[in-house]
Symmetry: C2
Subunit: 210 residues, 2 copies
């Protein structure tokens, strides 16, 4: 019943994790079924939009009943690609890199941090939550020995493109970028940005909005 994901719009795609969050909460609170109307109230969307969104991927509901929470959650789990495991490395073991390494929640979803890399001799050899910090010189050999799917860029922005180029050359196809710049990458490499300063500027913009 599930359709192809190829032509899902950016807007729909960005709502999927939110659906997943709400359905996880509903399931946890023991709720078995939910209608698009009920979900629309909780999430602040329209029921129409919710049905349109789900029907990009297949008909997960049942007329007169609604959606089975657990089934729907499971479908979205699959849609998000969370049935597999992703091996990650963190480039830059500063504040942000260390915070991400310490954050254990990603592991529950199958995102495994295999190592951190830095240029700073004081950090190299350390370990964070049991995850070693390697010399950035070992980057290429490490990737060739371990199957790394995602590189998390936590370097200063001056070094971000350089390290991105290096991991792309090694065949890494996913980049989670925390540096305050846009990364250039070939079409088959997915770059997802977390621009914290952009987010803070947006907050500032809206607070000073007249």
């Amino acid at each position: 019943m599930a359709k192809d994901k190829s032509y899902v719009s950016e807007a729909v795609m960005r709502r999927m994790p939110k659906y997943y969050r709400y359905l996880t909460d509903l399931e946890k609170s023991g709720i078995e079924r939910v209608s698009s109307k009920e979900l629309s109230h909780r999430m602040g969307l329209t029921a129409s939009q919710i049905r349109q969104d789900f029907n990009c991927f297949g008909g997960f509901g049942q007329q007169g009943y609604g959606y089975n929470v657990s089934d729907l959650r499971h479908e979205i789990h699959k849609i998000l690609g969370l049935t597999r495991v992703y091996n990650m490395i963190i480039l830059g073991a500063g504040n942000v890199g260390q915070a991400l390494a310490n954050y254990t929640n990603f592991e529950k979803d199958g995102f495994i941090i295999k190592g951190l890399f830095d240029i700073n001799p004081r950090l190299i050899g350390m370990s964070i939550r049991g995850i070693p910090v390697y010399d950035i010189d070992e980057l290429e050999s490490f990737i060739s020995k371990n199957e790394i799917h995602i590189a998390v860029i936590c370097t200063p922005k001056e070094k971000a493109q350089e390290v991105a180029d290096r991991v792309i050359r090694c065949g890494v196809k996913g980049i989670w970028n925390f540096a305050a710049m846009d990364i250039n990458a070939p079409r088959d490499t997915i770059v997802e940005n977390v621009h914290l300063s952009d987010s803070l500027y947006t907050l500032s913009f809206r607070m000073s909005d007249d």
Copy 2:
């Protein structure tokens, strides 16, 4: 010449920080003028969109010339509300809270972290980059003594709404939310979300896209 910000769409608003980033880079590299066409190539937008975006706020360019980089950057600086200072507190002094406190770049833009708050006795009394960690019990009295504009929520998601309610009651009008849930707040309180897991799920989605 500058227009009202009231009816700026979400889409335009989200592009403003990106313009600010690119203009800052251009100014740093000593480039004086830029046309919408040149900027469109660099940023991967259309020239038309760029001109439309800027004209939401006023006519900052000059026919036949383009835009003066430094002037335009300064205009966007104002538009983003970065001419003032924001006092912030961080709620939750765990990984994320500490990482944000250690990150000095926000201060350059006038976002000053006045304190962290936690429930954990081991953290209370510590200081991070000179910024004290207070007992969460002191939250209300601290806010009443200091003019706090923004609360950064870095608590576990179970506590997020509770601490949000407390700071809102004290008159805080801006919330930067790092917890993996949506915060309920009155209309005059601005909530800006950084949902890291949503971002990671989106990356996963696009990597497994068929």
